[in-house]
């Protein structure tokens, strides 16, 4: 108890540093997943991808990152259990951050795909269940989170399937695919802009002190979406087409139109990723700050400290700036037969799913939704070949991440609590 009062600011400092470290790891680690498809399909250059990622990851983290943060902060463990031992919760959250960040670093170094969401959730469960007591964990909530890891890829796959099929019906399988592409692509842009701005308005802006009503929210979202579609149309209108009438060029021209759309979906993906994954870094930090700020009292409702979201956003951007370049460069080399027309459906579906799920406050895994979406496009016969072996490896790494994150956080927790008391 006294520890929180005497060392409070030190603990917050530690938590902030580790949280920043974790955010930085997320930026470095996940950028490939968020921006990879756009770079892989050559819709964006590496430089453009980094700039887009920075702007939109930060915007997503800052504008729409609050909801999931609350879940990570107080959804996984039952705070009432810690009423008499708040210092353990503080130690635990710091350990969880440290564990997740360490695992992220190790896995990235070894080149394993890991999910940041899984590592932090595993770490929090680990210290609470083993380090303190099994009863501290809200197992019902945890089941919900784990369940969402199964459901969200499924949803995202279905959305991707539908989007891709609609694109085929409306654009590819017609007399004049190019004309149809020019006509319909802005509509997809509208859709992307609408979903994103609606969720931001409804769920995100509360945290920065703006509260907008439902009808107003809809109106604003439609306005934003129209602006997005309009700007997209301008860019499409400015494209230079190879006006040879033969069909082969036809599809090349269509891809050019889709490349513009791909830029929009890449922005969405970065925004979605920022809004969902920033919580993995700052959720535990927010918990520490709130406990120390209330001098050990664990309050049910407390606003997020103003500096926390930007800190997480900055951390992600810093990770992007320092490491993202490297990661994306390897993608550029290792790639792929993905074309914008096939990549956009996956990206749009994943972004929508992440944003919608973040709105419900569930910490989902961005990578997972993307994998689900890719499989969805594959089912719609949109991708030449999907390497199921790699998919399996990714899934295995998710499963492994949970116990590893848990184990590491238990170790850190024991070290911390024994050294501090």
């Amino acid at each position: 108890m006294d520890i929180l009062i005497s060392h409070g600011s030190t603990l917050v400092m530690i938590a902030a540093v580790v949280g920043f470290f974790m955010a930085w790891g997320i930026g470095a680690n996940d950028v490939a997943n968020a921006m990879g498809t756009s770079v892989g399909s050559k819709a964006l250059t590496i430089k453009q991808a980094i700039i887009i990622a920075m702007v939109f990851e930060f915007a997503g983290a800052y504008l729409a990152g609050g909801e999931v943060t609350s879940t990570i902060r107080k959804g996984i463990i039952d705070p009432s259990y810690f009423a008499d031992i708040p210092h353990l919760l503080v130690f635990g959250m710091i350990s969880a951050l440290l564990a997740a960040a360490t695992w992220l670093l190790v896995a990235s170094y070894l080149g394993w795909p890991v999910s940041t969401t899984h590592s932090i959730v595993g770490a929090i469960i680990g210290f609470a269940a083993i380090g303190v007591s099994v009863d501290t964990v809200e197992w019902g909530k945890v089941l919900g989170i784990v369940g969402s890891w199964v459901v969200t890829p499924l949803i995202s796959g279905i959305i991707a399937f539908v989007i891709f099929n609609s694109a085929q019906k409306l654009i590819f399988d017609t007399e004049n695919p190019l004309r149809q592409a020019k006509r319909w692509v802005p509509f997809y842009m509208f859709l992307a802009g609408f979903v994103l701005s609606l969720v931001t308005i409804k769920k995100g802006l509360k945290h920065i002190g703006l509260d907008i009503g439902t009808t107003e929210g809809f109106v604003y979202a439609i306005i934003v979406a129209l602006i997005v579609a309009f700007i997209g149309s301008i860019f499409i209108a400015r494209l230079k087409f190879n006006e040879k009438a033969d069909k082969r060029h036809h599809y090349k021209n269509v891809e050019k139109v889709f490349a513009v759309l791909m830029v929009v979906t890449a922005c969405c993906m970065a925004f979605a990723h920022g809004s969902n994954d920033v919580a993995n870094a700052i959720g535990p930090l927010a918990a520490v700050v709130s406990i120390v700020g209330n001098e050990g009292e664990i309050v049910k409702k407390s606003a997020l400290a103003w500096w926390i979201l930007p800190l997480g956003g900055l951390g992600i951007v810093a990770g992007l700036a320092l490491f993202g370049h490297k990661v994306i460069a390897t993608i550029g080399k290792g790639i792929t037969h993905l074309t914008p027309s096939r990549g956009f459906a996956a990206e749009l579906a994943a972004a929508c799913t992440v944003v919608i799920a973040s709105g419900t406050g569930l910490p989902i895994s961005t990578t997972q939704t993307l994998v689900g979406a890719v499989l969805g496009v594959g089912m719609a016969r949109g991708i030449a070949a999907i390497n199921m072996g790699v998919v399996r490896n990714i899934v295995v790494s998710w499963v492994i991440t949970l116990p590893v994150g848990a184990g590491l956080s238990i170790i850190f927790f024991w070290i911390l609590s024994s050294s501090m008391s």
């Binding site: 470095a28 680690n29 490939a32 997943n33 990879g36 498809t37 892989g40 896995a107 990235s108 170094y109 080149g111 394993w112 795909p113 890991v114 891709f164 099929n165 085929q168 590819f172 399988d173 017609t174 007399e175 069909k247 082969r248 599809y251 490491f323 490297k326 990661v327 390897t330 993608i331 290792g334 790639i335 792929t336 037969h337 993905l338 074309t339 027309s341 990578t367 993307l370 994998v371 890719v374 499989l375 594959g378 719609a380 016969r381 949109g382 991708i383 030449a384 070949a385 999907i386 390497n387 199921m388 072996g389 790699v390 998919v391 399996r392 490896n393 990714i394």
Partner: protein, 226 residues
Amino acid sequence: MSNNSILGVFAKSPIKPLEKHIRMVTKCCGQLPAFFAACAENDWDKAAVLRKEISDLEKEADSLKRQLRLELPGGLFMPVDRADLLELLTQQDRIANKAKDIAGRVFGRQLQIPESLQEDFNQYLARCIDAAEKAADAINELDDLLETGFRGREVNLVAKMIHQLDQIEDDTDSMQITMRANLMAMEATLNPVDVMFLYQIIEWVGDLADLSERVGARLEILLARK
């Protein structure tokens, strides 16, 4: 950090190498008219060079085939059935093998098409090579087929091509019948063993068209299984 990305999920497209392979195969068949011309002129040095070229192209097609088979491990999730794709590849490869056999056999026996049959034979050969090229055209549509998800307009276009391929093969059948009848009429004036081989060469050249038609048939099956 390289595998930590969704992009490992995208495997190499099997379509492009398949198209490359059939182009190699048609190039291999395309050498045959020049080869037969050299034989007719008794220029066996030139014929040797051309035979080697045909054999080299066949080898190249073979190595492409092998590479493609290795690139299609069992764990790939593709819009087309893997077995169908490999079967199509095998069929494509057979055309090149047949071209190589023809060149090898003709060169090995220094066989010449009788003067009076030459004009008919050259037309017949050209028509059989047309079949191979038509098959290649159909295979080249696979890319766009993938783009449209194997349905609609594009499928009709390919179906039309396959229909044309069948017609070409019909042509070669009737040409073959005429060739055989003409050869039979002059059998008595020729060396009996040569006649046996001439029949065989006529048949093998016809096989080029048959095999091309089979490529079309495999492609049809590939598209039909949706």
